[in-house]
């Protein structure tokens, strides 16, 4: 465990020793708050301690990740209002910009720490008494940068077990890493060459090009993040640890609500347990007191909860209005899905099930791809410009280099085949595992050759590292 903890610290310090101060404060404050909350009987004192822990954790997150966004938005907001009222800007020049180094994976560490504190406060878990164990939980290097957002009660008990190198675990872990590399190098980085070229010059491209680039970006985002997760899970598996799965064929989902149950599962679960459910219950309690008639109480609580939760989910991804809109749109679509539930049930009864499945999957993919325009675009203005252009601007389809676009389609095709086989092979109990060891290895050799042949070795970093 000492080695694990030191590797986590080393891994972190690699990006700059100063930035380690932030996770160190998070670890220490959460650890001691957890112990004190648990040891206090007085409810008021408990609450104060809990809130102190939250303020420290979330305060650091807000300061390092969102302070410039808050300053700029306030500055522009005041000027916008003053322009309307007095026809001139009250604040002159440009807003202050703090040059801060955002600590790596701060969003992931903070959410794990906050989740831990909530569980202790609720009394559902006992606090960890060993600082080394607790620090290793937050700094476990495979999940340090981009998750999964592991729960303490899943992970800490594993730290207490004796771990020995296990041949089967190592082989399985290496297979996961290989698959992750394939997703990242062959699919994500390949698609990034096209999407970057298009989105960074969106004004020069036609509607069809922007549409294809948006679809490619959705696949890129999935491959990039799922690739990282696979590498993280594989690395942990080699060391004898089990990290939770973060993806479950999200593009096979038939609604956006189902999609978020399959995409970034650890974040979705966190938001559900610590934000959406408490918020919805609170709204429901208030709504029941006021006895609304037009909407059912459950509708009001769900809609309020989901809109706030998903908007926060958007902001979690990044400090810009693009992400606010991205998150809000997810909540809005889920609201529409709820309000049309009865109609959709009726339609489902009269159409064949395959059409329902295909239509649902197509709708979900299309809608999510639409929202990722806000995720990828450089500015909100660009995002709206792209949306407008997709529906209005005709023109030629940008190909760039022929071989690049062929590789892009090939990458999407390969991913589609694998996703379909993963989704349906288990359910239909198809035995795809060959009887002979040698034949089963051909697939992995093929994957390695494919990476060497068409992988992009000069690609950028993982998209989710920035969060």
């Amino acid at each position: 465990m000492v080695i694990l903890l030191l590797s986590g610290i080393f891994f972190y310090m690699f990006a700059g020793a100063v930035t380690f101060i932030v996770p160190a404060v998070i670890i220490l404050s959460t650890f001691f708050c957890g112990i004190m909350i648990s040891g206090t009987v007085n409810q008021g004192k408990k609450k104060v301690l809990f809130l102190s822990g939250l303020v420290i954790n979330l305060g650091l997150l807000v300061f390092f990740k969102y302070i410039n966004f808050i300053i700029t938005s306030t500055f522009e907001g005041i000027n916008f209002i003053s322009k309307i009222i007095w026809s001139e800007h009250v604040l002159k020049g440009s807003s202050v910009f703090l040059k801060l180094i955002i600590p790596l994976g701060i969003s992931f560490i903070t959410f794990q720490a906050v989740g831990y504190l909530i569980e202790i406060y609720r009394g559902s878990h006992i606090p960890e008494k060993n600082l080394g164990v607790f620090a290793t939980y937050l700094l476990f290097f495979p999940k340090l940068l981009s998750g999964p957002i592991e729960r303490a009660h899943n992970f800490i008990p594993q730290l207490r077990l004796k771990h020995e190198l296990n041949y089967e675990q190592i082989v399985e872990g290496l297979k996961r890493i290989l698959w992750g590399l394939f997703l990242k190098i062959v699919v994500a980085d390949r698609l990034a060459l096209y999407t970057d070229a298009v989105f960074n010059n969106c004004r020069q491209h036609s509607g069809i090009t922007l549409l294809v680039a948006s679809i490619f970006f959705t696949v890129q985002l999935f491959s990039d993040f799922a690739g990282y997760t696979s590498i993280a899970i594989g690395s942990a598996q080699i060391l004898g640890f089990r990290l939770m799965e973060n993806f479950n064929s999200p593009f096979m989902a038939k609604s956006i609500a189902e999609f978020w149950g399959r995409w970034h599962i650890s974040l979705s679960n966190w938001l559900r347990d610590y934000l959406f459910l408490p918020l919805s219950y609170s709204v429901a309690r208030r709504a029941m007191k006021k006895s609304y008639k037009v909407f059912k109480v459950e509708y009001i609580s769900y809609i309020t909860g989901i809109l706030i939760t998903m908007t926060i989910c958007g902001i979690w991804h990044g400090a810009s209005w693009n992400f606010v809109i991205f998150g809000f749109l997810q909540g809005f679509i889920m609201t529409v899905e709820l309000l049309t539930r009865k109609v959709r049930k009726k339609v489902k009864k009269i159409i064949p099930s395959w059409l329902d499945t295909l239509g649902g999957m197509g709708f979900t993919f299309a809608v999510f791809s639409f929202t990722t325009i806000f995720f990828k675009a450089n500015t909100v203005t660009d995002a709206f410009f792209i949306v407008g252009k997709i529906f209005t601007a005709s023109g030629p389809f940008y190909i760039g280099e022929w071989q690049q676009i062929i590789y892009c389609f090939l990458a999407v095709f390969l991913l589609l085949i694998v996703s379909l086989s993963q989704e349906y092979s288990v359910k239909k109990s198809l035995q795809l595992k060959p009887k002979y060891w040698f034949i089963s290895q051909i697939g992995y050799v093929f994957l390695i050759i494919l990476i060497l042949l068409i992988g992009v070795f000069d690609g950028g970093q993982f998209i989710y590292f920035q969060f």
Binding site: N200, N201, Q403, V445, L452, L453, I454, V456, D458
Partner: protein, 320 residues
């Protein structure tokens, strides 16, 4: 069988399988790579292996599309080959090309198309050296340059497939007759037929302005400065007349010239110290405001290229 021996055997078989497939596929790809009938790879191979022109032109896309080799050849009565390579290469690429070529023979004149950005480490500057990977084993003089790509390059190059990474489709395409020669290639010169129709086509985005601002403050990369100096030294050693040329960029009339970047100052200082023939057409007033001679802000079309080549020839004649 003992389970440990069985496991070791399995690992060995697995690695052997990868090695065999990698080597066999690598041999096939190498064979096919060097039998391509057209395209950029073919042009690079030709320059490295067969070209014996008196005048050689090096640079990136601006070299490839701005210097009409046939005009130069006809006017100066010397053979000329345009070895410019599309793709925003840095001076490292040109140094690699010049190193290989001058090792084989000494041309009389080398024209190096130059922009200060060629000695700035922009995103992907080193990555773009991947076009040299297929030549790694053949030309030992390229190795130090290729290894600048990254600390693990030597390890990656253990694979026989890796040098041909992302080249499969072009290899197939340019080995078959199904491809259409979309671009006219005249001794390496690739003319552009497009024209800027109106000034609106040059509309600039805030991001582009920001990028330009960053570039205007950028400093020269040490390796690239070294490569530029080495080109000059190499030409002196081989008794080759070197002309470093900055070809025209589109300017609107009365446009205020920006102050030179630190990288540009470094380059000018190197040229001055080494008495290099530096011909700067980047702000040539002949081209100011002539939208019809450009395909975009940084590239002349065929019509513009011919006018520029004529002006360059006049200058070269003065030096002869």
């Amino acid at each position: 069988m003992n389970k440990y021996i069985s496991r070791i055997l399995k690992i060995f078989v697995f690695l052997l399988l990868i090695a065999i497939i990698d080597q066999v596929a690598g041999i096939i790809l190498r064979k096919l790579y060097f039998t391509q009938k057209a395209g950029q790879n073919n042009a690079l191979t030709y320059a490295f292996r067969d070209c014996k022109a008196d005048i050689l032109i090096f640079g990136n896309s601006r070299a490839q599309h701005h210097y009409d080799s046939r005009l130069i050849s006809d006017s100066l009565k010397m053979s000329c080959y345009n070895a410019g390579q599309d793709g925003g290469h840095s001076v490292l690429m040109q140094y690699a090309q010049i190193k290989v070529l001058t090792n084989r023979y000494s041309p009389e004149i080398i024209i190096l198309e130059f922009d200060p950005v060629n000695i700035v480490n922009t995103a992907g500057s080193y990555d773009r050296l991947s076009v040299l990977l297929p030549y790694y084993s053949e030309y030992s003089e390229l190795r130090t340059i290729i290894l600048l790509r990254g600390p693990y390059e030597r390890v990656k190059l253990l694979s026989a497939i890796y040098p041909f990474n992302s080249n499969v489709i072009n290899i197939i395409r340019f080995n078959t007759n199904t491809h259409v020669a979309r671009k006219q290639d005249i001794d390496g010169y690739v003319p552009i037929k497009d024209k800027i129709m109106n000034i609106g086509m040059l509309e600039r985005k805030p991001e582009t302005d920001r990028e330009d601002e960053i570039l205007s403050q950028s400093v020269a990369d040490t390796n690239m400065v070294e490569a530029l100096k080495n080109i000059i030294v190499l030409c002196k050693e081989k008794n080759v007349s070197l002309f470093i040329v900055s070809s025209p960029i589109f300017h609107i009339p009365n446009e205020k010239p920006g102050s030179p970047s630190p990288a540009a100052k470094t380059a000018l200082e190197i040229f001055r110290q080494n008495n290099v023939n530096f011909l700067d057409f980047s702000s040539d007033s002949t081209f100011t405001g002539h939208l019809e001679w450009f395909s975009d802000r940084g590239h002349l079309n065929d019509e513009g290229a011919k006018i520029f080549t004529d002006r360059l020839i006049e200058k070269l004649k003065n030096y002869k």
